[in-house]
Amino acid sequence: MKGIISVTVKDSRNSYKFELKRNITVLTGESGRGKTTLYEMISDYNRFGKSSGIKIACNVDVIAVDGIDWKEKISEISNSVIIIDEDNSFVRTAEFAETVKHNSNYFLLITRAYLEQLPVSVDEIYEVTGNKNKKFDRVYTDINKMYNAPNAKKLPFKPEVIITEDSKSGNQFFSAVAAGHNIQCISANGKSNIVKILKEYKSRKVLIIADGAAFGSEIRDVINKQKLSSGNIAVFLPESFEWLILKSGLVNDTEWEKIVFPENYADSELYFSWERYFTDLLVSVTSDEEYKKYPRNKSKLPAFYIHEKSIEQIRKNMTGVDL
């Protein structure tokens, strides 16, 4: 499935209105805000239809799934929204991650659990707000992809250390940027290591750079560390490094709609996360020009991307960082 799915769920006491735009959305937040009530309304509607007294407006089916036979239930559903409540421990399993991968459904997960195996976007983590008329509000907000900056006036952020999630092309690019600025650039070798190695750089100005499209499992802990850091930690989360290149206009820009409105193109059956979608798009748009050809395995970044002029063009999309 692809595209933005609008959902309204109503009864005489509650009205929920929200949109889903990726394969995985997480609903989290404080207790007592109505997350489980939403799940129960959908579950009642699934069992009793309109005679439940609940109205659901959505152009696809919205289905509540729970219990030990979850896998069988999901296998019988396609092109729908599936909602799962927090009491189901299976959402933390590798088996569930495999099920979500290449699935035509969108998943709305009510959970606070650490979900390392699911590529949740930092932009698709919401909490319920409102009394009778409820909506979803994003938990982590950004200013030009700088997340939860305590004060916009503190931007741009000048780092002493850059920690990148990956060890390949993204790290090669930011190492090239850091060289000459007396900035140390290190790779965490994976998103789940970022928060672990932060303590090695206490009291230094650290910029974290990771793929926002799949950093959802880590963001809570990183932002909590940021809160305790007295302004020493900044978090830059572009959708992915490939998105940053595409958005800069450095390569063929005829595909701008695919960059600006990925929700209309990134089919959940093909892409586990938008990070993979943007990699495919960059590989595709650079395939005709040898010197720009972006390697699918990201192992070695072509010299073109770390040329001074290219770096300058990409940096223009990083207004929150002083490099």
């Binding site: 006491r13 509650n14 404080e30 207790s31 489980t36 009530t37 927090e86 606070r112 659990a113 390392e116």
Partner: protein, 151 residues
């Protein structure tokens, strides 16, 4: 003292709502602790053991209380059992710490709950010798053990 296991623990109760449904007693609902947490977390008022007034849902039964309130009530009344505290939002954290001042109990966590900016004592049961005293130390412990459990 509060004791925390990061990750799964044998015989712990993951689905606290189901456990609550089959084990709560009427007398628990009208005691002061429950009245206070229902007012603070669910913004509702306990009228009797079977009736609670919610500003949004109207007159509700104890079974319609939030997952956080149900888990807290269970923690108070079954201190020997291990409940899943990831069913509790951060607005339950101060109540968990308050309860831990009165009795020892253990919870499982599958995320790093925000216990606020104050000092506290929490024993980390993945390493029984470790006691953390603030959020910075708690995050470091959670990061270590939650990620170990996953990998």
């Amino acid at each position: 003292m509060l004791r925390v296991y990061f990750g799964d623990r044998e015989n712990s109760v993951y689905n606290t709502s189901v456990f609550f449904r089959h084990s709560y007693k009427d007398s628990w609902i009208t005691e002061d602790f429950t009245r206070e947490i229902v007012a603070d977390i669910d913004k509702s008022q306990v009228i009797s053991s079977s009736s609670i007034v919610s500003p949004v849902l109207g007159n509700i039964s104890p079974l319609q209380l939030s997952g956080g309130v149900k888990a807290l009530v269970l923690m108070k009344h079954y201190p020997g059992k291990i409940f899943n505290a990831s069913n509790c939002g951060d607005n339950c954290a101060r109540w968990i710490l308050k309860l831990a001042e009165e009795q020892n109990f253990t919870v499982c966590l599958y995320h790093i709950m925000d216990f606020g900016s104050g000092e506290f004592d929490i024993r980390i049961m993945n390493d029984r010798k470790l006691i953390v005293h603030n959020m910075d130390e708690f995050i470091d412990a959670g990061v270590k053990y939650l990620r170990e459990v996953q990998s």
